[in-house]
Amino acid sequence: MLVVEDVRKSFITAQGKLPVLRGVDFQLSTGTSLALMGESGSGKSTLLHLIAGLERADSGRILVDGEPLQGRREAELARWRREGIGLIFQQYNLISSLQVSANLAFQARLAGRHDPAWVEHLAGRLGLMPLLQRYPEQLSGGQQQRVAIGRALAPRPPLVLADEPTGNLDEATSDTVLDLLLQLVAEAGSSLLMVTHSARLASRLTRRLCLHLGRIQPGEA
């Protein structure tokens, strides 16, 4: 269970303090999926980064199974990212020096949860079997995103965070990728929090929240 309570975050810019999140509250139950929507600059990615422990909130609480992320040391946050979540980025962020097979298993092996059979299953489901010996730059955008999904799900994390995972893909490929993501998240028994601009894609998830000017739109929390 993920609980977000009154989370606030500001950035210091040349023009002064810029509040991005002005008190966000929501919950995500285990095994469910949630789409986080909103216009550019509404704070969606920032919220995702706070949950991933990539950044720290100014105030408020983020609880994972009742345990707060606040106050954790950097090493503990790194462990949370390694073992607690699977991250999928719009830009894929694969490790360019490693082959697809090594990229797929990378996080699972880091977390000490490498299950070769599960990784092979993922590769098969994602259609990556013929591409295992290739390097990321030898793949198309859709193929790279499928590798990123496989990498995120390989350790069977309790929570998958996806930041516009289909933002760089055409509509047909987006649908295919999202289908796979939802199926595999369900197979892994994970929860999914996905940031997206697309209402069409968001409608495929269990719940939807819309961020506007750093707050959840009334009635949607």
Partner: protein, 825 residues
Amino acid sequence: MGMLRISLLALLSHWRRHPLQFCSILTGLWLATALWTGVQALNNQARADYARAGALLASAAQAQLVARQGERFDQAAHVQLRRSGWPVSPILEGRLSIAGKEPSTLRLLGIEPLTLPREASIAGQLTTGFDLDGFIGPPGQAWIAPDTLLRLGLKAGEQPLSGDGQRLPPLQVQAQLAPGVIVVDIGHAQTLLRAPGQLSRLLLPKAFAALAPPLPVELAAILRLQASTDTDDLQRLTDSFHLNLTALGMLAFVVGLFIVHAAIGLALEQRRGLLRTLRACGVSLSGLIGALTLELGLFALLGGLAGVISGYLLASLLLPDVAASLRGLYGAQVAGQLSLSPQWGLAGLAISLLGAFLAGCSSLLRTMRLPLLALAQPQAWRLAQGVWLRRQVLLAIVLVVLAMACWWFGDSLLSAFVMVTAVLLTAALLLPALLDAALAVLTRFSRGPLTQWFIADSRQQLPALALALMALLLALAASVGVGSMTEGFRRTFVGWLDQRLSADLYVTPRDTPQALEISAWLSGQPGVDAVLPNWRVDTRLQGWPVQLQGIADHPSYRQHWPLLEQRSDAWTQLAAGQGAMLSEQLARRLKLGLDDDLLLPTDQTEQHLTIVGLYADYGNSKGHVLVDANWLRRYWREARVSTLNLRMAPARVPELKAALEQRYGLDSSRVVDQSSLKRWSTEVFDRTFAATAALNSLTLGVAGVALFISLLTLGQSRLGQLAPLWALGVGRASLVWLCLGQTLMLALLTVLLAIPLGLLLAWCLVAVVNVQAFGWRLPLHVFAGQLLQLGLLGLLTSLLAAAGPLWQLARRQPAELLRQFADEP
């Protein structure tokens, strides 16, 4: 013009956002130019001083009459020749010690301006134009070069005291005078040198000498005609020394250019988007290349200017050691102060421009050849990189063939240096491929995910770091090679000195009569076991200056004169006047070996001797032949005693030394004990290699800077590789350690390749370059401790180079890493 200006301004705007790259290119050009111009300044200064020494008595000294025996002769010969119509002009020269806080010895030259030919010049000044009365009449004048005056800490007009308390005439500065020389009227010189009525030589005008008139019979027994070739000899003898310095300067220059090449390459890669935009906006390819070239030219001028200034400072620092080496090795006087022409500065700027274009031309070519739309695709650049890598390997193969050809067929110092250069460039060109292969092997053994990433990411960094690692490889190999050669040479030299300098006391008499007198006196002294006179004749064999040394038949030579090759009856043959021994360098130069026939031109005829032995004669720039003393005196009337070697009870040395100095008026430089001579020889050796060691250290420093700049520049672009790892749960501290480990691993692999390359270089130096440059071949020694020390120094250099970029990485805010994932907050 407008398009060029706009393109140039757009290109220059890049540097505002990348000041570090700006500094990298400037630093590279600055260091490369500084080291090159510094070495050139040293060489130019030395050569200018040889020319000054040669021009000391320009056009007057085309030929000279010198004593057949000893260093001096009676001035009555001069008077007699003048009366017979010979237009001779007398010269007296000798060493004069000057008293002071730091006593030093100078060459005192006494001249007689009245008898010098009217067209002659002394130290660049016509004899017709100067103050004759002031020079000749009391108190006279003592001409001195400004740098010598400065070295002595004296001022013009002062009258310093000589070592034995005599006052010199007032000092007068002559800008063109050679360093280390004082010129006075011959009368003053005879007083100061305590040589009344004595002369060293008589100068003859060119035209008169060309007629080759016979000397009066009574003078032919005393004097002989000699062509003046000392200056030419100095140029020839020191050529190897200067070529060695030039080679080191060139190495440093090349290493500096690696920095420039790396920085320009990265800058072009980072600006490929801008290049595409400029092309898309209608800038022609030629306009773009023109703007890039102009930008490069601006860099070259800025870096070159800084380099020329630094080069001057560097040369000023190294000059005292170089001057001491030249003095010790060749007897050449080089000023301790730089005075360079504007042409030297302009040449420095030109070399900077050349270097910048050499370093930047590959990037310009790549820009020209890449298709317009592919400019912004990394894959296109990587493919281009791959093509260049293949070309590098092909070029390396060509260079290997060239090196082998130079080894087999080369017979000159130039071919030896071409071979060394080819070997070094081959290794540098092959380094990326070798490192990649080594990492590929390591990949097979890597198990954990981070280990796999560690190796794979290192391989990915190779293209960006390759040039800096090449620079490190070259600098380390040069350090290993030159270090092994120097240390090996040092040990060989010290061992050789221990054997060769076996006498307890060495006496250099003023002339042969004094030598015979001293010898007779010494025979009656208690504790003196043997007095061994060395007879000497200076001659030429196949145009090369050679010293013939005649020795007595004494067991100490058989026991202590180390021979490289010998016949079983070598010493017996030598004592019988049937054999001669040759120094190694002379044997190589004359292409003679054991049992070959040596033809020696004597006064009247030619004599044949069989070569019965070869010996090392380190440090002697002239050829050396050892023959029996009696045989030498029989065929050369001008043979003189150069030294007396005394074998005696060591405890009595100080007492006898003092007695000799007092009894025969010899200064301390003429009576030297064994330990002083060894100490002096070792000091000369160490100072000879001091400049080499300094240039080596600087080259390693430049390589460190190259690595530092590459890592720092790479650090900017590596965030994209490191951020995903951080996001996947690898802490920042771990990332820093991993990056440090990567740098050290690449440096370690480079060091491991540099050591065999350095040893190969050492072999090239001792077995090929030294043989061609000096004529002697040294045994190759491997010093494990030295290799370990240099290996650690290479790693330390890499560690220091990596420290800054890693410190930056450790201090990076998470927000900077986050920017890799999102464009919006």
